[in-house]
Structures are given as C-alpha cells and as structure tokens.
C-alpha cells in the first residue's frame, strides 16, 4: 500500500481578500487582550471619579487608590488570611477530586454501590451549605477541619457527576473491541474509561475550583470566630464591624483575584492535557 501525501505548504497569502482576512484575524487576536484591559481601566477610572466628584466618604465607599493603599498597608494581615483561605480551598479541591473520582470509579464498577449511594450524593449537593455548616461546627472540634468539610461538600459533586458521565461515555465499539481482546475490568478502566472521562472530569474540575473557594468563604462566615487561622472572609466580617471599608474592599479584591487565578490555572491544565487530541482544545486552521 502506498500513500499520497499532500505536502504541508506554508500558508501563502495569495490575494487581497485573503490578506484582509489575515489582518482581521490578527486584529481580533490583539483585541482579545486589549479590550478587557481597557474596560477594566475605564471602570476603575470611573469609580475613582465617581467617589471624588460626589465626595463620598471613605467609610461608605473608598476610591480605588485608597483600596490599593490599604492592600499594601495591611498586606501582612491580609496575606496571612489569604494563605488560610487558599489552603482550605486547595485542600477541599484536592479532597473533592479524590472523593469525586474515587466514588465515580466505584459507581461504574458496581451498579449496587451506585444505587445505594448516589441519592446521598445528590442530597449533599442540593442542601445549601450555609444550613449544614453550623451543625458541622458543633460536631467537629477543629475549625480547619470544619471549614474543609464545608468546602468539600460544595465542591465534590461536579467532579463526581462529570466523571461518572465521562466513565460511561466511552465509545461502544471500543468497548466491544476491549471485550474481544479479553481485557480485564482494570484494563478497561485504565486504558478506555479513564481517558474517555478526562475531558468531562476537567470540566467538572473547573467548576469545582470556583465552588471550593465559595465553600471555604461561606463556611468561614458561618464559623465566625476569629483568632489564629482566620481567612479572608473573617477579615471582611471584622472590617465590617470596625467600619474599615477600605480593608473590606481589599479583602474582597483578594478573594476575587484568587478565584480568577484558580480558574485560569485549571483552564490551563485542561488545555495542556487535552490539546493533542480533544475537540475542545483544538485550534483549527481556517
């Protein structure tokens, strides 16, 4: 058997139409970055002018300059709190991944286990964490452990649901092929089901990353008491009592930034893992 290959030639710009299209694509690429930055800058500028022109006192609404200054000034306190929140968020995410994937694998191995435990997973998911959290803090002595459990409850379901779906969505002909070649249950899981589930899992992971941050913050609001090991949510509460609004804004900014960074990291991870083969990560040449 022989094979005729079309030589991969450099894309050459042949006519004006194509040149225009290439230029448009390039401009779009730049705009993708420039536009959000411009909008952000305008928003901050508008915020600043709004505060200055209306002479709004800083204990009602601080300007962006003051928030930035507070962020620098209070950095030691805020950074410690950021570390606490981050630690709980990441630990919760880790446990959610282990628990979610583990349960999903167990579910696909045995229908009986799935039938027995799936309802509980759903119940955990639909019950608002705010309403369970107080109970958890009664029964669990360690504050950190309590926070972790709350964040985990919020984060694990998307991982479980998506991974289960992914494990069950392996191509049917491939399943048949594995049977014909006498694959063991473990081989089928390892070489067929887990790779098939990867894109689904990564989708769940991105949602879970945001949710574990939300879980950590909400749980801390409920947990209340401060002292050592206080995260950003506690700083916001505390600053609210003291009418230290600039610090509230600074802490809020840190929480939002953390969420964005987590999302960006997980998206990047997803892209790296899927770029070679999955439709969602393919760049098609047009």
């Amino acid at each position: 058997m022989s094979l005729t290959e079309t030589a991969a030639t450099e894309p050459m710009i042949v006519d004006a139409e194509e040149a225009r299209r290439a230029r448009k694509k390039k401009i779009e690429g730049i705009a993708r970055w420039v536009l959000p930055v411009v909008v952000m800058a305008l928003t901050i500028f508008g915020w600043d002018r709004f505060v200055v022109w209306n002479e709004i006192p800083h204990y009602i609404m601080p300007g962006p300059g003051l928030v930035a200054k507070t962020l620098v000034q209070d950095w030691p306190i805020l950074f410690d709190s950021l570390l606490v929140t981050l630690q709980i968020t990441l630990l919760a995410l880790l446990v959610a991944v282990l628990g979610g994937v583990g349960l999903a694998v167990l579910f696909t191995q045995s229908r009986w286990i799935e039938m027995s435990f799936y309802p509980y997973a759903v119940i955990l998911q639909v019950t608002p964490v705010v309403s369970i959290a107080p109970l958890i803090f009664i029964y669990v002595d360690s504050r950190i452990a309590g926070l972790l459990i709350c964040a985990w409850i919020v984060a694990f379901f998307p991982v479980l649901a998506n991974t289960t779906l992914g494990l069950n969505s392996a191509d049917h002909n491939l399943r048949d092929l594995f049977r014909i070649y006498g694959a063991t249950r473990w081989q089928r899981l390892r070489y067929l089901q887990l790779p098939s589930a990867l894109p689904y899992f990564l989708g769940g992971l991105r949602i879970a990353g945001g949710l574990s941050l939300i879980g950590a913050v909400v749980a801390e609001y409920v947990a209340g008491t401060g002292g050592i090991g206080s995260g950003l949510a506690f700083r916001i509460l505390e600053a609210g009592y003291r009418l230290n609004i600039p610090r509230m804004f600074a802490a809020l900014f840190l929480i939002a930034a953390t969420g964005v960074v987590i999302f960006a990291c997980l998206s990047f991870l997803s892209h790296m893992l899927l770029r070679k083969w999955h439709e969602s990560a393919l760049k098609r040449e047009t």
Partner: protein
Amino acid sequence: MSVEHRVTLPMGERPLLLEMDQVGKTFTGDVVALRGMSLKVNEGDFISLLGPSGCGKSTALRLISDLMLPTQGKIRWSGDHASGDLGVVFQEPTLMPWATVAQNVWLPFRLQGKSYNSVKDQVLEALKLVGLEKFLDSYPRELSGGMKMRVSIARALVTNPRLILMDEPFAALDEITRFKLNNDLLELKAQIGCTVIFVTHSVFESVFLSDRIVVMAARPGRVIQELTVEQPYPRDDEFRTSAEYAAHCRATSDALHKAMGDAA
C-alpha cells in the same frame, strides 16, 4: 514472530477454520435477527456477507466474535481459540483519540500484557502493510478518513489473527478512497493470506473482493444463496472492467433481488 504470511490453498483444499451450524439469534420482543445460518469458513477464504439493511449481517459478526451468544445453534472453531485470534474492523475507524497511531495498533498486545518494546516490530510491520509507517506518532485527528481506516486495519492485523471480521469498513468513505482501499486490501490479502469475513451493502464491492458471497435476506435474517467468484487473486482494476466481473455482478445482483423480493 512477525505478521505471518500464510499460503492460500485453492478452494476445496482449504482446511476448515470455523463452522456456524444452524445459528439463530432472537432478541427480546421476538425480533428474529438471524435464523438457521450455516456457514463453513475455511482458511484463506474471503467471504462477503451481502444483503439489505437489517438482514442480520452485523448480528452474525457479533455472534462469531462472541460479543453475544446465539439463541439457537452452535459456532465451532477448529483447534484452540484464544483472544488475538480475531481481528475486527468496524464501520467507523474506532480509534482511541487520545493515543497515537502506534499506541492504537499496540492495543491488542497491550491488553495481553505485552510492553510496546517487545512488540514494536509487529506494530511497525502492520503499519507498513497499510502504508502508514511514517505516521507512528500522529494522532488520529491528524489523519484523513481513509488513513484512519488503514490504522484500524493495521490494528486488526497486528496479532496475526486467524480470522478478520470487517463490518462495512469502507461504507463511510468516498468512492475513490473506497476503490483504493479495496485494491489495497486485496494486495494485503495476497501478501499475508488472511481469512476475512466482510460485510457490505455493495454488490460491486463483494464481487471485486471475495471468492465467496453469502447473500442474505431480512425479516427474518437468513441466508438465501451462496455464490463463488473463481477469479484468482491478486485482482486489479482490469478485473473491474472484465466480462467475468460483469457476469458475476449480474448473478449476485439477481440473487440479491430475489432476497429483497422474498422479504417484501
């Protein structure tokens, strides 16, 4: 060990490989997918199962590959039968998109617990047989439909199976690619002397490829007639335009019309 090159004996002298004895399959709800199918598959045969949609061609292949059990009759292999004795090609290429071409072809061995290095030569040779040895590290998405089908065929060949089952492998391809792959498949058969059961909707394809054509009818799925095409391999494009080819097509087509007429 490498891909074995067997000698194909003339028809009538070929040893029995597999026997279907009055095999039937009834699904729940009294759907008779297949009734009383008897077929002797000999080593070196190229058998086509030809018939209208729903006549149980895929069911027959699934029964042979042990993916389901017959509700009547028996399927007997001559000699010991192990996994790896069977190669399968589906209508879709059915490749693992996350694995490279080489890893896809390695799969049957991998499931036998063999490391890539220990079977590298076979993987390479199978890919060479389908003309894709330069694409070892490509991912399926980088290949055209015809190339993916070749990978699928290489994977079916790599364990040097006693029997290769193909379920409308080229139905989704354009006609030019299909002709090319038909030629290549026959060249491959002439080289390694494999035994093939090939499911198709196309009279022309079945005549060009096979030395035995099993014509089937639907509702209930059953065998209507068996024809032989006694044209020696390798066959080439000249055969496609020959008078014998036309005569065989006419005879097969008549048998198929009879099958459709019976069903209607």
